[in-house]
Symmetry: C2
Subunit: 275 residues, 2 copies
């Protein structure tokens, strides 16, 4: 197969490197900034590049790896150029908005929403890794009418690439879960380091500070869009988190150690059970 | 020197192992549950044990590694037995309450509050490590009247043990900083996994979930006391955190991507600068 990677940043280039390492597919690559494409060619991260219109006509599967709000315009702009019966997918961290806007159109190709779930605190081509997805989930959110063989083809590719797990779900369930597992974790890490005490942590911090604050190194431009595009689910998570924090506060103020123990034992049990 | 380790749990036994590995001091050990003492002797983690009253009369430095509320009664109970001019210290994660209660007494020994800053999600003798303090800070909170040579002796021991950094400060400043670097991180990790969505995270989670939730594996009995004993500083941190979370929520609800970017860029800058 010809697999086209559009956008050779952290995720796109890591997908390309993984495809080269784990599969025999031909990897086509395209990036808005031409110098990155040339670097990827020199590094052997992609097999070929060329004019975008030519590449998308050749590709059996196209991965669109842009910022959330650039994906839909890109697909609509090129909707008549994608190879007939090919699969077009993306790697964006929210799915409902994108899948809804691309739903019900008379395309010659099959759009299937996807989310290869991995990231780093640092972005861009130079930080991409052929190991980024080693323990990662590959989540797909097809429409009810998406042909089974197309979904299977995309899942099969993810399995060949060595993703630890593939998950098929609805865009809505994906977004609800991601609000909890990823988005609120980033909101929380940022909120944490915004404490007035953060700048003087040196000498007073250990593993818990390091781990809880890690994802405060964040690509603000990208995540601002992701948060707004998943507003309802994320606000629900913020509310739940604040409500739990206020329970802790209430029990601390009242020096109710038994209630604190109950809360922590519950959290401890959950964490032990679910990992 | 004879260094006595009272309490051979995670911290105490890790201190003993580190002393054996990095120094030539004689390591005396005592544990309430005798079988643990015997195990430590068999494992060569301590050189000698015996009757508690005999051990504390021999020890040049005694580390008391008990739950917060057991430390003060222990020291008062044995106040007339500790070796004259010896140093008695502890490893508890809060200092103001303990240092205040032990302040101004006519002891024959010198009590100096200390906090070797490291931990694990798992506790007890069997999880102790001779590497636990490799990148850790050793914080001491002496009184103004504590003789300089006694403070230097304790710091010197910590340096010999390979602590990455030693810090001398007041109990109050220690507790304020620990509320931020450690206590609120634990409150926050527990509050996070108490979300109704936590039990179904599998397949939808990656590094941010893993790191932010790690310290939800918590010793509830110990931390409940630590939280209540550091009530004011910790409540201030909860309030700051909730206020930052509400700023995120407000901007998400209003779809104000610019304000979200500003908040995240600020957090990102702080994290990049301070590590």
């Amino acid at each position: 197969m010809n697999v086209l990677i559009c956008g050779l940043g952290l995720i796109g280039a890591s997908l390309a490197k993984t495809l080269k390492k784990k599969t025999n597919h031909t990897v086509l690559g395209w990036n808005r900034t031409e110098s990155v494409t040339q670097k990827a060619l020199r590094d052997g991260v992609i097999d070929r590049s060329g004019e975008l219109e030519d590449l998308i006509q050749e590709a059996d599967i196209t991965f669109v790896n842009f910022y959330p709000n650039a994906i839909i315009p890109f697909i609509f702009k090129h909707k008549d150029c994608f190879k007939k019966d090919s699969i077009v997918t993306d790697s964006c961290g929210i799915k409902t908005k994108i899948c809804n806007e691309l739903d019900g159109h008379d395309f010659d190709f099959y759009y299937i929403g996807a989310h290869p779930m991995a990231g780093r605190e640092v972005g861009g081509y130079d930080n991409s890794l052929d190991t980024l997805f080693d323990n990662a989930s590959f989540i797909v959110t097809p429409y009810e009418y998406t042909p089974r063989n197309k979904v299977d083809a995309l899942i099969g590719l993810a399995q060949d690439m060595g993703f630890a797990r593939t998950v098929v779900t609805t865009p809505e369930h994906h977004d609800e879960m991601i609000a909890f597992t990823s988005q609120i974790a980033h909101v929380l890490a940022c909120s944490y380091v915004l404490s007035p005490l953060a700048p003087s942590h040196a000498g007073y911090s250990a593993g818990s500070y390091r781990d809880v604050s890690r994802v405060a190194r964040i690509n603000a431009d990208m995540w601002a869009d992701l948060f707004v595009d998943n507003k309802e689910a994320l606000v629900r998570e913020v509310d739940d988190l604040v409500s739990n924090l206020m329970q802790f506060k209430y029990n601390i103020v009242n020096e109710d150690t038994q209630a604190l123990k109950d809360l922590m034992n519950k959290a401890n049990r959950i964490k032990e059970e679910i990992g």
